[in-house]
């Protein structure tokens, strides 16, 4: 399951969080959404990304 959670606070700040994506697709999926909502000020990759990347790195060693 893939999910995108958009939390809009009381003064118009928005947090966009993705979960369940593999590879580099999550930023592609939310790129236009974030642009439509406003100006992105920070964009941080989550641990999930690093876990997946590490798995991929490990696999690549074999």
């Amino acid at each position: 399951m893939k999910s995108i959670t958009i939390t809009i606070d009381r003064v118009g700040g928005t947090i966009v969080k993705t979960e369940g994506f593999t590879g580099g697709t999550c930023k592609d999926v939310t790129k236009n959404l974030q642009k439509a909502l406003g100006k992105t000020s920070t964009d941080i990759n989550t641990n999930e990304m690093y876990e997946i990347n590490n798995e991929q790195n490990n696999l690549n060693q074999y």
Partner: protein, 154 residues
């Protein structure tokens, strides 16, 4: 890969703003170039969201490109929609005396209107953005936050 992004809301979609206004029981008046407010700058508000801190000169208070009004309430103040330098829009309003009924519709800090605007932007994206085909939205509230969750089982 997953990520977390913070986004400062910038009004860019006037159609979504119109829908948000209507959802708040208001009317969007395109090309109305003045909006009702106290009528004179008395140098009495200096919060971070004060209009003059966002590039609007006090002499221009009350001027706008479009306005949002409370229907059937001629004494109510209005919201002015003015241009930002980046092509988006700012919302200006006077909360003195609750805007004589305006703030009842939009909430403190215009929260209801801004959240409704963002919701309509998201719904429009779901309808038009090919990357979001197959996602189902659910909306809930937690404290004063609106939470829109898009889920795909593909």
């Amino acid at each position: 890969m997953s990520h977390v992004a913070t986004v400062e809301t910038v009004i860019m979609d006037l159609n979504a703003l119109k829908k948000a206004a209507e959802e708040c029981g208001l009317v969007m008046n395109f090309d109305q170039t003045t909006f009702k407010w106290y009528g004179a700058w008395v140098n009495d508000y200096h919060g971070n969201d004060a209009a003059y801190k966002h590039g609007i000169k006090p002499k221009d208070y009350g001027k706008c490109l479009h306005a949002i009004s409370v229907p059937n309430k001629p004494g109510a103040y209005e919201i002015g929609v003015v241009a930002r330098d980046d092509g988006g829009y700012l919302l200006l309003w006077d909360f003195f005396a609750g805007g004589y009924g305006l703030m009842d519709h939009v909430g403190k800090d215009c929260t209801k209107l801004l959240q409704s605007y963002s919701k309509h932007v998201v719904l429009n994206e779901i309808a038009t953005n090919p990357d979001l085909i197959g996602y189902t939205p659910t909306i809930e509230y937690e404290n004063e936050n609106m939470i829109i969750k898009l889920t795909s089982y593909d």
